[in-house]
Symmetry: C2
Subunit: 277 residues, 2 copies
């Protein structure tokens, strides 16, 4: 469950990105992230823990500095001990936004899960700090994380591997590299395991900006696939054998491109506003 | 549009199969097809026109004979001239069911389209003769045929190739080898081009038996994916560029395994009846 936060203070944005966001001159997702983080006053902490490449953190620091933030720094946390250090927690206390890079989301959850750093991110997000993440860094954001699974568009009892995530929201399940890695089936499986949350599949170079009002806007060059199980009247997910097909009756499906919005509270989708373009 | 038929006479079943239906001892789809065709009184005409293999027709004749039908014969029509012959039309007039094999659906439509054989199939189906088809033979059955397209689950303006089909129903769009060839995107594209029809994606070894009451039951080892655009409130299919993502808001999605039913008239899906198993 998300941290409760201080009464009267708006939650920060939650910004999962489907991976492979553009990092050249036109980089609408990272630019929008810097904008909500405060623009020239933004202090961004990059956490490259998901990645095993040494330069991942510095690469994002360079990108954010190139967008004229006040400060960007990397916290290359590679062990649970490191995630307990006061200096790391202090960096998050001071930040206006945290960005989690791609890599392996189980590495993220294994190293950060339950640590003072994770707790600081949760508490500060509830108090207005924005948290973004790409690829594995997107997958980790909700309470229930999609850690792996089968490709293909068919749901299967053994189609998804789930694990506890960072818990910044418990209204969404998030999958990423969605179209590129053909992941509708595992998102359908995850959603139907317990149809209380909305499934969100993010194509590469595509993000949602989930605001404190509980609605999100799509930014980027791909689409966001929303699976809403509110109307699910029948599911055989509990009785199908691993290789058997599954029946699911009454799912709502939306495909949302840039500018489209979705209200997670009311579960309504909205077309892009033409006047905003 | 479907042929009108004789007043008071029930239409025949329409039985599209997703391809690769089982042809060994347990072959639930072909057995059910023989049953509706009259069992021991069934007279089945096989049309192997979609296939360029010489033995396709004879293979199905052997299968149907092995299920103890009264008669099974193949009409290996390979030219439009052949499709005009009285003898072919007479065979269809005498049949209780016609079965169209797999292969290339554009070959089927090119050779049979508008021919006396096609007209006889349409007229006789309206008057109670059952028509089944597998793979290409399934694709050809509706008014609007999915002839080709891109794989993947994402709809795209250039995602599908359509052509006129046999026109036995204009309430469904049919795609086949659905899960195996990852065809949700092209079905979504086809449905959203003109959201009046319901999209039906058939996995291999999976069929729908669409009865004269306008509802169908799922038979076979895979699933049927139903895309119902009734509630589509927004589509950017008309304005998106070929490589741009498309927004589609308000689609209904059902996954139906064996025994599940769908009423095409009311667009309601029904779980399998446990007492029927």
């Amino acid at each position: 469950m998300p941290s409760t936060g201080t009464p009267g203070v708006s939650r920060g944005y939650i910004v999962p990105v489907g991976g492979a966001e553009k990092k050249t001159a036109e980089m609408p997702i990272l630019k929008r992230f810097v904008k909500i983080a405060g623009g020239g006053d933004a202090r961004i902490v990059v956490i490259p823990t998901a990645s095993e490449l040494e330069d991942t953190g510095d690469r994002y620091v360079d990108l954010f500095e190139g967008l004229y933030v006040e400060a960007a720094r990397s916290l290359p946390i590679t062990t649970r001990e490191h995630a307990m250090e006061d200096e790391c927690v202090a960096a998050i206390e001071d930040a206006t936004a945290v960005f989690l890079t791609g890599g392996n989301q189980l590495r993220l959850s294994t190293i950060l899960g339950g640590s003072p750093v994770a707790k600081a991110i949760r508490r500060r997000n509830a108090d207005g700090m924005h948290v973004g993440g790409t690829s594995a860094g997107a997958a980790i954001l909700p309470e229930h994380m999609i850690a792996g699974g089968r490709s293909g568009h068919t749901p299967r009892v053994d189609g998804v591997v789930m694990a506890p995530g960072l818990g910044l929201t418990n209204r969404l399940l998030i999958d990423q590299h969605f179209r590129q890695r053909d992941r509708l089936g595992r998102l359908l499986t995850a959603v139907s395991f317990n149809p209380f949350a909305v499934g969100v599949g993010l194509d590469e170079d595509t993000a949602i900006f989930l605001g404190p009002d509980g609605s999100f806007e799509v930014v980027g060059s791909g689409a966001v696939t929303v699976v809403d199980p509110t109307g699910l009247t029948y599911s055989s997910m509990d009785s199908a054998a691993p290789k058997e097909p599954v029946s699911l009756i009454g799912l709502q499906l939306h495909l949302l491109a840039e500018g489209a919005r979705y209200d997670v509270e009311t579960r309504q989708a909205f077309a892009p506003d033409p006047s905003a373009q």
